[in-house]
């Protein structure tokens, strides 16, 4: 039901933008990040980290933007935890709108998988996001803060999902006259399962290079 409501809202926004006959905007970027995964089960904690690479593309029409993103990398165990590494694969689709010049609201599904030789942990959730981004006067810099929360989530683990939420903040550099922009950011998301029996946290420090609007 939530899926239908979100899809209808997205199509309505897209339809109004098409009706306004506005120009199509394209944006894309590549992203490299150091990701740290922390898992806590009944108080026992393990962590893994590694480089992850990905990208995102967006098409905007009027106030509405449709985007897709993908990232993939290999996480290796740290000093504690399982001896086995795992692959992180993630993809998302979203529709976003800008009700204010500095505020962007978006929603869409995201899938994430942690793949080992033995098993694959699969997450699917629908998330709603709010992002505030504004230029720092007299500089080519912009800062942003983004918060999101899963509207619904599923995972192939025995514990039920309590909640999944996350946030991101960073700084964007757009040199004057340059087509490219650069973004340095930190993002974190946390999932709580089984009333706190299990939790998973994914943190990343990322550097992105993009073209088009950041």
């Amino acid at each position: 039901m939530k899926t239908l409501v979100l899809a209808a809202a997205g199509l309505t926004l897209l339809g109004s933008a098409v009706g306004a006959q506005q120009r199509l905007r394209a944006t894309g970027w590549g992203d490299g990040a150091i990701v740290q995964l922390g898992t806590q089960i009944l108080g026992a904690r393990e962590s893994q980290s590694g480089p992850v690479f990905g990208g995102e593309g967006r098409l905007g029409l009027g106030p509405v933007t449709l985007g897709v993103g993908y990232l993939e990398g290999r996480l290796q165990p740290g000093t504690s935890g399982t001896p086995q590494g795992r692959d992180l694969v993630e993809a998302r689709i979203f529709v976003s709108a800008r009700p204010l010049s500095w505020l962007t609201l978006s929603a869409g599904p995201r899938v994430r998988a942690f793949v080992t030789d033995a098993a694959t942990e699969r997450w699917v959730w629908w998330e709603g996001r709010a992002r505030a981004q504004n230029a720092l006067a007299s500089t080519p810099l912009q800062t942003y803060i983004e918060l999101w929360r899963a509207l619904s989530a599923r995972v192939n683990l025995p514990e039920p999902v309590d909640h999944v939420q996350g946030g991101e903040a960073g700084v964007v550099l757009r040199p004057p006259g340059a087509a490219l922009w650069f973004r340095l950011g930190y993002r974190v998301d946390g999932a709580r399962l089984g009333g706190g029996l299990r939790s998973e946290t994914v943190e990343a420090v990322s550097l992105a290079v993009g073209i088009g609007g950041p």
């Binding site: 922390g38 500089t139 946030g167 903040a169 960073g170 974190v188 946290t201 943190e203 990343a204």
Partner: protein, 136 residues
Amino acid sequence: MAPPESTPPPEDIPLPEPPPPPDIKPEFVEAVRSLAEGLAAAVAVVVLPSIVSHDAAGFKGRFAIAAAIGGAGIVSFFAQRSAPAVDAIAGANAAARAAARRRLEQVQQQNAQSAAEVRLIVRAGPATSVELGGGP
């Protein structure tokens, strides 16, 4: 025909409004806003793990990001308060005030001129017929 009558001067032209202060944003407010935005984003990076996930270990690398963002806010603050920007805004403020003063003086002069003028209005009375009597 009714006799000519003197009339009071026409109503004065309303005086122009003084220039509103928001026309030109004070440079200090802009500088503080940039500083606040930079510091807010830097603080967000530091506290996000504890807000989002109580079990998060907190990636130490995020402090470098926080420093970069906070530094950007400070750079913007000082760039805004640099001398050329202040001079430009001060000059624009002075020009706006001078233009408003000229408009005010012009209207005051027009009103004084209107009040000094003597005006006569000749109104036609009702039509009457006068019979010319025959001569003796």
